[in-house]
């Protein structure tokens, strides 16, 4: 897992809105993705997970969204500054994207085969016959029975799980180096979710691609990720290897998230744990720690300055003043 980074994001800032009113949805996010790595991105709704990933490929409607600063390095090119034609070459070919809701993410008036063949013909220059053959292979790869016949079916003739498989097949069509999956199982029921997870785990080893898996389910991340990035208020608050994170969660938000997980064998509590308060409104760039209003361990410094990511162990960083060496408290709070 020590291979070179295939995708490197530095200081990404994305803002929605006009001069008068703005939402700072992504604040100074940096991370890198190594070849073949599976990075789990967790956080509650509105924490900036999806917006960050869509910013990478400039998929957000602009206006109102705009990328204020930052670099997204992929294959030696900065995607933020790339011209449209070259960016199209990256979309679908270098980086595949799977969206959250399979019910609406496919075009209802075109056959699944047509939609699956589009990237093949656009990026790889396949002719009709070759594209069709490859499309059938892809459907077989994602586990759709009698793929040849199903190419001529329309999306409404597929179930939700099947449609998500089709979406994955589309994303994988051109053998991308990176697959970004934006909550691909959220809209599906639990058994289908497990199937999709297994499928991606399996395909990732088969095809040797790096995966970014966005979710708000810590259980899912524990099962598949190599490394986890926790996001809150549009920034990365903790980043660690999956084992390190679960053994030693450092940021109070990560800990709180883990506390909300209902435990299977522990004592049964009357109510599910929640984190009190609301996620912050990101109408201004954060001057203080965004989690401060909800944090159980908040002190003056948190309200005065936004903590940077501080390394607590090799490959494990948290954006919390409590993790700073001077504070000296890492576990005992």
């Amino acid at each position: 897992m020590n291979s070179a980074p295939v995708l490197e994001v530095q200081g990404l800032k994305t803002v929605f809105g006009t001069r008068d009113f703005a939402v700072h949805a992504v604040n100074d996010v940096s991370f890198s993705l190594r070849e073949g790595e599976l990075l789990g991105v967790v956080g509650e709704s509105g924490s900036g997970k999806s917006v960050t990933m869509m910013s990478l490929l400039r998929l957000l409607p602009s206006p109102p969204a705009r990328i204020e600063s930052g670099r997204v390095m992929f294959e030696g090119q900065d995607l933020v500054r790339l011209d449209d034609a070259s960016l199209r070459e990256v979309r679908g070919r270098g980086i595949g994207f799977v969206f959250q809701d399979p019910m609406t993410s496919l075009n209802p008036v075109f056959t699944v085969g047509f939609q699956l063949m589009e990237p093949l013909r656009t990026h790889l220059g396949f002719d009709r016959k070759a594209a069709r053959r490859r499309a059938a292979e892809l459907l077989a790869l994602v586990g759709i029975p009698s793929p040849e016949a199903r190419l001529d079916d329309y999306p409404h003739q597929f179930s939700g799980g099947m449609r998500q498989r089709v979406m994955i097949a589309i994303a994988l069509a051109c053998n991308p180096k990176v697959l970004i999956a934006d909550e691909p199982t959220t809209a599906l029921d639990v058994t289908i979710q497990a199937q999709i997870l297994e499928l991606v785990k399996d395909l990732r080893h088969k095809l040797g691609m790096a995966v970014v898996w966005i979710t708000h389910d810590l259980g899912v991340v524990a099962g598949i990720a190599d490394r986890v990035m926790v996001m809150y208020g549009g920034q990365v608050v903790e980043s660690a290897g999956v084992d390190a994170l679960y053994e030693n969660p450092t940021h109070p938000y990560t800990r709180a998230l883990m506390a909300t997980l209902p435990s299977l064998d522990g004592t049964r509590r009357d109510r599910l744990m929640t984190i009190a308060g609301q996620p912050p409104l990101l109408t201004a760039p954060p001057a203080a720690c965004p989690f401060a209003p909800r944090c159980a361990h908040v002190h003056d410094r948190c309200r005065m300055a936004n903590p940077p990511l501080i390394e607590v162990a090799p490959g494990h960083a948290a954006a919390c003043w409590l993790a700073a060496p001077g504070e000296g408290v890492q576990n005992g709070v």
Binding site: G92, T104, L106, V109, P119, T122, Y154, I170
Partner: protein
């Protein structure tokens, strides 16, 4: 699909019968006198005899069924005979729907008038659709741009200003002040060579543009709204994420979806072509179907008005069906079998 169409056509029969009865009854109940336009010197007894000779002495039900027979059986048979040259039964004495004012068969009058209406009104509709679809697409794609603002402004004008006003305005500007275009449509004009063709284009220009503006305003608004609905859909983002060109995303993925409701609007507008733009035809003196209807109403020519109105009803029913069938072809989620 064929079975569905057949079923719909069968359902259309009772619908049309009901419509025919309502039309007939309404016109019969309306106070009108076919002899009212005759000179005052004609004495009342003669007027009464004229009325009786037109069949007005018969009871309402008898008149209704006779008209129904003439319209539903005799006229189609006659059309068939004219097309094929056959003689079916006693065609000499078969009673056709006759106009009270001219004593000639109503169908012949309509056939005479139809080409003018189809040329002027039909052409204006085709132009309207050809203009409206691209305007709607661009306006939606560049929402709130200068193009969209101008398009919205012109649509609002076309929507809100009645054709009798735009028609008169154009006549005043281009016929009276500038003298470029004729204000009266000459039906007898025959296109023989380039010059006569140019004249034909010139005389069609104003009525066509007046109607095209009104229709295009409406259709382009529908197109724009439908495009806006679809541009924000998730599948558009998927298409972009696949690395497709923006042109393909908009003109293949979005347009196909957006056309579904608009095609219905366009198809339902077609009967109005045959109905003729009554007011516009009147203003530019295009002697088409619309003008025929006005003359019929003014002269209390009940059979003419009944027949024309009923033909419009048939067209509306038929194009409703066609709209539904096209809908089914464009949208795979809709299946009629």
């Amino acid at each position: 699909m064929a079975r569905y169409a057949l079923r719909r056509l069968l359902i259309a029969i009772p619908t049309l019968l009901a419509i025919s009865f309502i039309i007939f009854a309404l016109l019969d109940l309306a106070p009108s006198d076919p002899t009212a336009n005759l000179p005052l010197t004609i004495p009342p007894e003669v007027r009464e005899k004229i009325r009786l000779s037109l069949g007005l002495g018969e009871p309402f039900v008898v008149r209704y069924f006779k008209w129904l027979e003439q319209f539903m059986i005799n006229e189609p048979l006659n059309v068939l005979e004219q097309w094929t040259g056959w003689t079916i039964g006693d065609s000499e004495n078969r009673l056709r729907v006759l106009s009270w004012a001219t004593r000639s068969p109503v169908t012949d009058l309509i056939v005479e008038r139809l080409p003018q209406t189809l040329w002027v009104v039909g052409m204006s509709y085709v132009i309207a659709v050809l203009i409206a679809v691209p305007i709607g697409v661009i306006s939606a794609y560049r929402q709130y741009s200068l193009f969209d603002q101008i398009g919205t402004f012109i649509s609002m004008l076309g929507f809100s200003i009645p054709t009798f006003f735009t028609g008169l305005l154009l006549i005043v500007i281009f016929s009276v002040w500038l003298g470029w275009l004729p204000s009266i449509y000459d039906t007898t004009h025959v296109v023989r060579d380039w010059d006569s063709f140019v004249f034909q284009v010139k005389q069609m220009l104003m009525p066509t543009m007046v109607l095209a503006l009104a229709n295009a305003s409406q259709i382009s608004r529908f197109m724009r709204a439908s495009m806006l609905d679809n541009l924000n859909q998730d599948y558009v983002r998927t298409a972009r994420a696949k690395g497709l060109r923006e042109r393909v995303v908009v003109l293949v993925h979005v347009l196909r979806n957006s056309l579904i409701p608009v095609v219905t609007v366009i198809a339902l507008g077609v009967p109005t072509i045959f109905g003729g733009a009554i007011i516009t035809e009147q203003i530019f003196r295009v002697n088409g179907i619309g003008q025929l209807l006005i003359i019929g109403i003014e002269g209390a020519d009940i059979p003419l008005v009944q027949t024309l109105t009923f033909i419009f009803a048939i067209l509306i029913v038929v194009f409703n069906l066609i709209a539904d069938l096209i809908y089914g072809m464009l949208d795979p989620r809709i299946r009629y079998d």
